[in-house]
Subunit: 366 residues, 2 copies
């Protein structure tokens, strides 16, 4: 079987067995933070002007197989394509429906979606990234949305698309007292830890907070130095778990920040698992395992290798060479496809489908 376990293998297997053959729904939560415009902090866009289009374009790509707000697909400055290719390939193979949530994007998606009607985030260096009332409203609205969605599926898989999201995740975790320094992953082979930490320290200083000082106030931590994706994904997870759906948080180290918010707000995490790609798990410049374990030692961490190192396409092989690595819930989408199909969808199937997506889009655009 292609699904691997990095933490709590026993619980991870239970999670997987429970969901085998069941109904899944994939939720993509898109948002934006001006933090993404800091030099060198992200490559989630061909250039600085393009970054804000990446979240809506990812949503459009998942739905239509092409973007509407841009002519191409989101890519790094040197052309490595969005992980939405992996997500779309996996979800389509397994027939898993999608649901898009706009939790604060700067450019609105031209595809059906649920809008939380909140603003995108400000640069966290100023220490007041989001309006506190909007964080609370987004969080509560998302709890309600999670409850609605939970009743329409057996397992909700929640992914994200927000450029610079590992920096805001780092900020929130540090303010909650989780030592996430040098542990968050990056879409670049050379992880810009110094830029991220500098950004976070500036934000903390502006907000007048320190490491661990908001341990008991996760929503305030988000308002000071977080991003608008966090309260939404945390809220949906809490709402869905409450109504008996399983939840697979699909993403990289950002999902550790979500887990921390859920946990530090006093919620149970039964029924929750985290899923990522092998590229994040193998990232020697980060430590997803340690992060998750330090926040909640009982949560299973699953990961998946979509075999992109074997691809004939250099843009896909790049994933195995340290570029992009994860995003748009790619790893979790693969695991969901595997589980829904009783593991009849193989890694090779997913690789082939991703290459099809690549040929259909990247190579046709070129």
């Amino acid at each position: 079987m292609a699904v691997r376990f990095a933490l709590n293998e026993h619980m991870g297997k239970e999670f997987l067995e429970y969901t085998e053959g069941k109904e899944f729904r994939f939720v993509l939560c898109i948002a934006y933070t001006d933090t993404a415009e800091i030099d060198g902090i992200t490559v989630a866009g061909a250039d600085k002007e393009s970054i804000k289009y990446t979240p809506p374009a990812d949503a459009e790509f998942l739905h239509y197989g092409k973007c509407r707000c841009i002519d191409t697909v989101p890519a790094t400055p040197d052309g490595k394509p969005t992980p939405a290719l992996i997500t779309r390939a996996a979800l389509r193979l397994a027939g898993i429906p999608i649901f898009i949530v706009d939790a604060g994007s700067k450019v609105k998606p031209r595809v059906r979606h649920y809008s939380l009607a909140v603003k995108h985030g400000r640069n966290i260096i100023y220490g007041n990234a989001l309006d506190k009332e909007e964080v609370i409203e987004s969080f509560n609205s998302s709890i309600e949305l999670g409850q609605i969605l939970a009743r329409s599926t057996d397992c909700l898989v929640i992914g994200e698309s927000i450029p610079a999201g590992t920096t805001t995740a780092l900020a929130v975790m540090l303010s909650l007292g989780i030592d996430a320094r040098f542990k968050v992953s990056s879409s670049m082979p050379k992880n810009p830890h110094d830029i991220k930490l500098n950004t976070v320290y500036k934000g903390m200083s502006s907000a007048g907070i320190g490491i661990g000082s908001l341990r008991d106030r996760p929503l305030e931590a988000i308002a000071c130095i977080g991003d608008p994706m966090i309260p939404s994904v945390a809220g949906m997870t809490i709402g869905a778990l409450k109504y008996g759906s399983r939840v697979l948080l699909a993403g990289g180290t950002q999902m550790a920040a979500i887990l921390a918010v859920i946990k530090y707000l006093g919620n149970k995490t039964d029924g929750l698992a985290i899923a990522t790609t092998s590229y994040v798990m193998n990232d020697s410049s980060a430590d997803m395992r340690a992060l998750v374990h330090s926040i909640d030692a009982s949560v299973p961490l699953l990961y998946y290798d979509p075999l992109l190192h074997r691809s004939s396409k250099s843009g896909l092989r790049a994933y195995a060479e340290g570029f992009v690595k994860e995003g748009v819930g790619a790893g979790g989408a693969c695991i969901a496809a595997s589980a829904k199909s009783m593991h009849s969808i193989s890694q090779e199937d997913i690789l082939a489908a991703v290459e099809d997506e690549y040929e259909r889009t990247i190579e046709r655009i070129k």
Copy 2:
């Protein structure tokens, strides 16, 4: 009991008894058509410039108790307030949650909502009101949304806010061969039948269609001379009924057009009822009973009198004098509140709550 029956009393009572004490969810579908800018066709706005704000403002009012895109509340040019006051009062008394769907508004609501990401409608006189592909996509998306919502409740109550919606409803019904002439209601005491019919005939002529010529093609009828609310409400209803939820279509004569689309597309209507206010039922310039009966003789038609004639507020008494009459699902919201509370919420309770809303908003604004 305050709920009255205009058609199929037996089935109507069964519907009501089934839903007593059950879970309800109220869906408000907002949209816009440029048809609303024809002189004398609607009073759903203080002036021509204001009309496009009415649907999002209604949504905001339902949610927040005040509007965000305008400073006041939607009203007729001479100050009769939106029926959203009745809807909000009834839903709050009974604790019924709301869900807003933007099916093509011109001004986006500043409140959480599901967006179908479609454009608002063009003036139907040109005969190509909506893009056919968008009608189909909106219809199919709404079926899926209806399925999701159905699983989160026992009864979906669906209301609308779209200015000039009775004219587009008339147009669609005529093109389907339903003789709706002089049968659709109006927000004015003097129903401008001539303006509506002229508009419809111009649209039919532009589209090269005639009375009954699109009998087998309801979605094409909507694309030619309909509005974007219709495919969404029809789709949600079909999706929700399929997943075992009851559906209460809450509105005036527009809901007859929805019923026709559902029916003429070959769908069953078991589990469906229509609900309106006594003001629509008593409208001597319209004939809701005949319309519904001619489309589907098996669908129950329920109505409710919120006793506004007894109000001390002239703006509310106006409803009983032929102004506004219905909208934002007011009649259906009252019936849902009555059913959910096992009819412990009385007409007097609703009147008092509506007057509270009036005092809190209209009289404070003045």
